[in-house]
Subunit: 248 residues, 2 copies
């Protein structure tokens, strides 16, 4: 039965119009998604403009969680799928909504929690935000006219997720029985790595740093590390920084 | 390549809000559908409220055809798929959008022309209108909250049609190389049959007639008759009415 606790969480980053947030709630309710998180909505929250568009999905608005930044909003999730209409220069897994839905069903069947990330109207997600996701989702559409509004993008992803319930377990990457770690662990690791690199003079100029950090973030997120792997990565950083040498 | 002349025609029956017609045009453009027909739009046509919602799909509004009734609007089409959220008492083929998309691709690959029929906001299609379709399409959604707005319903059907381009030819009913006849031929036959039945006293009371006509229409549309079969059906009616006897 879809619509249960394992359903993906919808995260709207910097949504602008309250009407669109309401329409997203309706599309979520249509497709059995029930948890909405808002990151820094432009007009604050709660926004009365959202309610008339929800058409029966008001409860999702009432229970929506408000966050100031994306890192906190997704810290408890194991995987993050980000929708984007544009090709980016990031090296990422790219999935259609159908492929993503099968993947999500397989992940949640093993107990993982998944987030679907949607950017602001018009501007979408920044490269830094996309870099946090482990998979980018691109909806196959008329390439000359591929722009969907926010609620339509949520509807297509939700519809595919709902449909995938009937398809049964999908092929999935084998993780040796271990799900990717909660994203907060990856964020902590990335923060540590960034500071370490800064201390080591890795970022030649301040101008280069954001781009380099983003590419690193994208690489590590793409690998979908497990908790064990993150421990290993920490060990690698410690080792490389010579902490082991100091202990000798 | 999707988006070509074989794309299904979208037919909106008694649409109410111009804004929704504009949003439908946008969803059509997103998914490579290019021909829009309007049957008796409530606020007349052209309706200036449609244009701001079209977001780049204005050309579809400019080229939209206006019809006074559904029979004329679909007369040149070979198959008609009608969307409905509710179960009806009609005996019909029922398809998901994905099944319908595969079916439509197979039909148009053999040269048939297909229509997608959408009813008015809130009220949907009447039973008489549904009876004209050979297949009903129901979108699998949360059964407690299955109501989509007009543009979202068009988007889902268009999205599946666009996606089906990549899936290759689907299994399909074998018609012996012959497509179902243009619907105008079926309508002519049904009109003749109805008059014949009336003359024969088939409809016991005026109250019963609409229901009985609808069920007959539904039955004949479900069979998707070819031109040869319609000729045969005419022959059957003639025969049953004793025209042959008179010639003897």
């Amino acid at each position: 039965m879809p619509g249960e606790a394992s359903a993906p969480v919808v995260i709207l980053v910097r949504p602008q119009l309250g009407e669109n947030i309401g329409a997203v709630a309706r599309a979520m309710m249509n497709t059995g998604l029930s948890e909405l998180r808002l990151v820094a909505p432009r007009d604050g929250w709660p926004n009365p403009a959202a309610w008339p568009m929800a058409s029966g999905a008001e409860v999702l608005l009432e229970e929506a969680a408000l966050h100031e930044n994306l890192e906190v909003a997704v810290g408890d999730l194991n995987r993050l799928y980000a929708t984007t209409a544009r090709d980016r220069d990031l090296v990422k897994w790219i999935a259609t909504p159908r492929q993503a839905a099968a993947d999500i069903r397989a992940a949640t069947a093993r107990g993982g929690r998944v987030g679907l990330l949607f950017g602001a109207e018009r501007t979408g997600l920044t490269s830094d935000e996309l870099a946090m996701a482990d998979t980018l989702v691109t909806v196959p559409l008329n390439p000359d006219h591929a722009s969907l509004n926010l609620a339509q993008a949520v509807l297509i992803l939700g519809y595919e997720w709902w449909q995938a319930a009937e398809a049964g377990p999908a092929l999935h990457l084998h993780h040796g029985g271990s799900e990717p770690a909660p994203l907060s662990q990856l964020t902590d690791f990335m923060t540590r790595l960034e500071h370490a690199l800064e201390e080591e003079g890795f970022f030649r100029t301040p101008q280069q740093k954001p781009h380099m950090v983003r590419n690193l973030q994208s690489f590590f997120a793409r690998g979908r590390p497990t908790e064990q792997e993150i421990r290993t990565l920490h060990g690698v950083v410690s080792a490389l920084r010579g902490l082991r040498r100091k202990r000798d």
